[in-house]
Amino acid sequence: MKITILAFGIAKEIFNSSSIELDVQEEITVAALKSILEIKYPKMSNLSSYMIALNNEYAEDDMVVHSVDEMAIIPPVSGG
């Protein structure tokens, strides 16, 4: 399935874009998606941490991603 992932902060710079499209298998978990991202964009592994958000909520590693979900990469936040 084709998915679109929004990127913010340093992730946007790593991808050189505010979103990326990936073709991944159905029923992929958040953990598997992170592995794919780190292989495709090795600089992701250098971050102190990062999360995936699904539909505006932080997602656990074992959650399953659906193509209709709004997906985003959340690098370490630094508001305030």
Binding site: I10, A53, P75, P76, V77, G79
Partner: protein, 138 residues
């Protein structure tokens, strides 16, 4: 009352203070976060903030609702600015009022501490010789 906003324009600190005004309250705690001129001894020129607006608003609302549940407070306001900020500019205003001051102080402290950990807002520090996304790398 819960009042959450993300703005591209300068924040109105006095307006925020009046917004939480309440005859039932005896104390208002206000936290004002401003842009510092240096970090780890390095001169900062400006900060560029960006946010994931829909999620940031949701996370800010969660913090406010959580604070309302944990302390006896009447009103809570969280306004965060994004875009390019200069030294001394106000980046965030949190105003909390309560019948008694202890709850206002505690809830205000909790709100800024939690905002810094969970709300998807990012700042890039721009130095004379480069720039860096805060906290991105260990």
């Amino acid at each position: 009352m819960i009042d959450i906003q993300i703005e591209n324009e300068p924040l109105d600190v006095v307006g925020c203070t009046w917004k939480v005004g309440d005859a039932a309250c005896g104390g208002t705690a206000i936290f004002i976060g401003t842009v510092r001129n240096a970090t780890k001894g390095k001169k900062v020129i400006r900060l560029d903030y960006e946010c994931y607006q829909s999620m940031a608003l949701k996370e800010m609302r969660k913090i406010a609702a959580d604070a309302m549940g944990r302390w006896d407070i009447q009103n809570i306001l969280i306004h965060h600015r994004v875009g390019t900020l200069q030294i001394g500019d106000v980046a965030v205003v949190i105003a909390v009022n309560a019948p008694h001051r202890d709850a206002a102080f505690d809830a205000c402290r909790y709100t800024i501490d939690t905002l810094k950990k969970t709300v998807p807002i990012w700042k890039k520090e721009v130095f004379e010789d480069g720039e860096e996304w805060v906290s991105a790398h260990a």
